[in-house]
């Protein structure tokens, strides 16, 4: 029943996030013909920004490239990180500021289990948030006379979820440190923003960026999966989750 409680607590975040992502994925596919013709009139502003935009335009010239760039490396990536941060916040430390911690802690459940069930329920929600709108892309693509591979979709979704686990774990960890909900959200978003800025403007850093692992940049360009990046992300996520468990177990309420 602990999962049920967490589901009730986060369901509106889930449904709103899902509705927005589905709307974005539909819009992304259905506006492709318009974007394609707009890109033909692209004028290079020059400089570093020009270089970046040129690359974007080149990538978007194929439908595969357009979907990868607009969805897996932008809309889904940023939307999912934001939702991972929002779904990760909460838990027993936040409850102590809301006044419900004593009821929760009076239940015959270990703190370890409370946190684990919460994390698992959130992980399932996040998996669905990445999967459902992405699986609609091959379907929407038929409406504009294009096709998109289901297998590729699943690979990119898995990369988003496994590579992005670190953002979810960070949100959980911050929620065991701060009792208010805003600090973990602000820090989580700030980390994602800094990483994306660094990834865009410092090309030498891009191959090592967790955002590149999540978007499947190497898979798109070379067909190789970023095994090392995934392993590092999962190890970091595991370490942060373990630290969260230790903090919650030792804390007085």
């Amino acid at each position: 029943m602990l999962w049920y409680r967490h589901w009730l607590e986060t369901r509106w975040r889930f449904f709103i996030g899902l509705a927005l992502l589905v709307a974005f994925s539909a819009m992304m596919v259905l506006t492709e013909p318009l974007v394609g013709s707009a890109l033909e009139n692209f004028q290079d502003p020059g400089g570093r920004i020009g270089e970046f935009l040129r690359e974007q335009v080149e990538t978007a010239k194929t439908y595969d490239g357009y979907v990868w760039q607009q969805w897996f490396s932008k809309n889904l990536l940023m939307g999912w990180i934001l939702l991972a941060t929002l779904i990760g916040v909460g838990g027993i430390v936040t409850e102590s500021s809301r006044g419900t911690a004593l009821f929760t802690l009076s239940l015959p459940v270990t703190r370890r289990r409370l946190l684990a069930v919460r994390a698992a329920t959130g992980a399932i929600e996040l998996a669905l948030l990445a999967l459902v709108p992405s699986l609609l892309i091959p379907l929407f693509s038929l409406a504009i006379g294009e096709s998109y591979s289901l297998a590729k979709t699943i690979v990119y979704v898995l990369l988003t979820i496994l590579g992005g686990a670190v953002f979810y774990a960070l949100s959980i960890l911050l929620s065991t440190i701060f009792s208010d909900q805003m600090k973990p959200i602000i820090i989580g978003i700030a980390v994602a923003f800094i990483l994306s800025t660094v990834t865009i403007f410092f090309k030498e850093f891009a191959p090592y960026s967790i955002l590149n692992v999540m978007s499947g940049g190497s898979y798109f360009r070379t067909g190789e999966l970023p095994w090392l990046g995934l392993a590092i992300s999962l190890a970091l996520a595991g370490a942060m989750f373990y630290l969260s468990l230790r903090i919650v177990e030792r804390r007085d309420f």
Binding site: M1, L8, R98, G99, L102, S106, L107, P108, T110, D252
Partner: protein, 298 residues
């Protein structure tokens, strides 16, 4: 005599420089209604949190229902067998009354469905209403339902009647008394309502600044505590009693008043030796005992 349901020895807890509980010894007999009294910040809630494993004691030891409060695995068993109402009555705002019940029920193997239905009805709790839409009194009733329906052998209740109207308070007190009489449940409850404690408790503990200042069977406490009023011809002399048991001395002109907890006869003899014009011994109420003991410790 059976083992106490709650037993603590030298329990201590500090928060930074503040000593919340300082060496508390507690012994709650099985089947008793144990009133736990103290001013705000006296250490009541911290004690309750330690008993339920929410806060780790800095020193001392404790057992609840035979399980050690310091051990995590034991603490889990304590919570499985204990009904608890917290001071703030915090429940999940995003759930309805019915969802709160459905969520809590499967976590307690001894859950009493008939009691759940009966309390839902008698407390007039609407199952479809969201917790956030409940009044303070209704929240208290829901918190009580969730504690009482657990079918626990021990109830730990922190201000269980807070926010209730007089009729509801009476109803709750009657339910608690019935539970003790019919099912040998032990109740350990804190309250600021001394009249309530006097109405249902058979044992009390008054805590002040983390220390127990009065403890024992309520009848014994009321029997042992007496006020001795002395009137002198002239100004009352400086008090010079050397007998243990004098809790508080007040002097006002020709009058002197002693609050005595034991050795009554010896103290009376010594009072007479002071050449008091009159010596009156009067019983004291629990409220007076509470006020005098928490004041005399200041």
């Amino acid at each position: 005599m059976s083992e106490p349901v709650i037993k603590t020895v030298g329990l201590k807890k500090s928060y930074k420089a503040v000593e919340a509980v300082c060496g508390l010894d507690l012994s709650v007999p099985r089947g008793s209604v144990y009133g736990f009294l103290g001013r705000n910040g006296a250490g009541k809630t911290t004690t309750i949190k330690m008993l339920l494993g929410m806060v780790a004691p800095d020193a001392g030891a404790g057992r609840v229902l035979g399980y050690a409060i310091e051990k995590r695995s034991d603490s889990l068993e304590i919570r499985r067998r204990t009904g608890f109402v917290s001071e703030d009555k915090g429940l999940y705002d995003y759930m309805t009354v019915g969802q709160m019940v459905e969520f809590t029920r499967p976590l307690f193997p001894a859950w009493r469905r008939e009691r759940e239905s009966q309390l839902l009805k008698s407390f007039d709790l609407p199952p479809a209403r969201k917790v956030k839409q409940l009044s303070k009194g209704m929240r208290t009733k829901l918190a009580l339902l969730l504690a009482l329906a657990r079918g626990s052998e021990l109830l730990i209740l922190d201000e269980p009647t807070e926010g209730l109207d007089p009729a509801a308070i009476e109803e709750v007190l009657q339910i608690l008394v019935r539970l003790v009489a019919q099912e040998e449940v032990t109740i350990f409850f804190s309250s600021h309502q001394i009249a309530e404690v006097e109405q249902i408790a058979d044992h009390i503990l008054i805590i002040n600044r983390g220390r127990a200042v009065v403890a024992g069977a309520l009848d014994d406490v009321k029997e042992n505590y007496r006020r001795i009023n002395l009137t002198f011809d002239g100004s009352a002399p400086a008090p010079s009693f050397e007998i243990a048991g004098i809790e508080r001395i007040q002097k006002d002109g020709r009058q002197m008043s002693l609050l005595v907890s034991r050795n009554l006869d010896e103290i009376i003899d010594q009072a007479r030796a002071l050449r008091a014009q009159t010596v009156d011994v009067v019983p004291v109420t629990l409220k007076e005992i509470f006020l005098e003991t928490v004041r005399s410790d200041e």
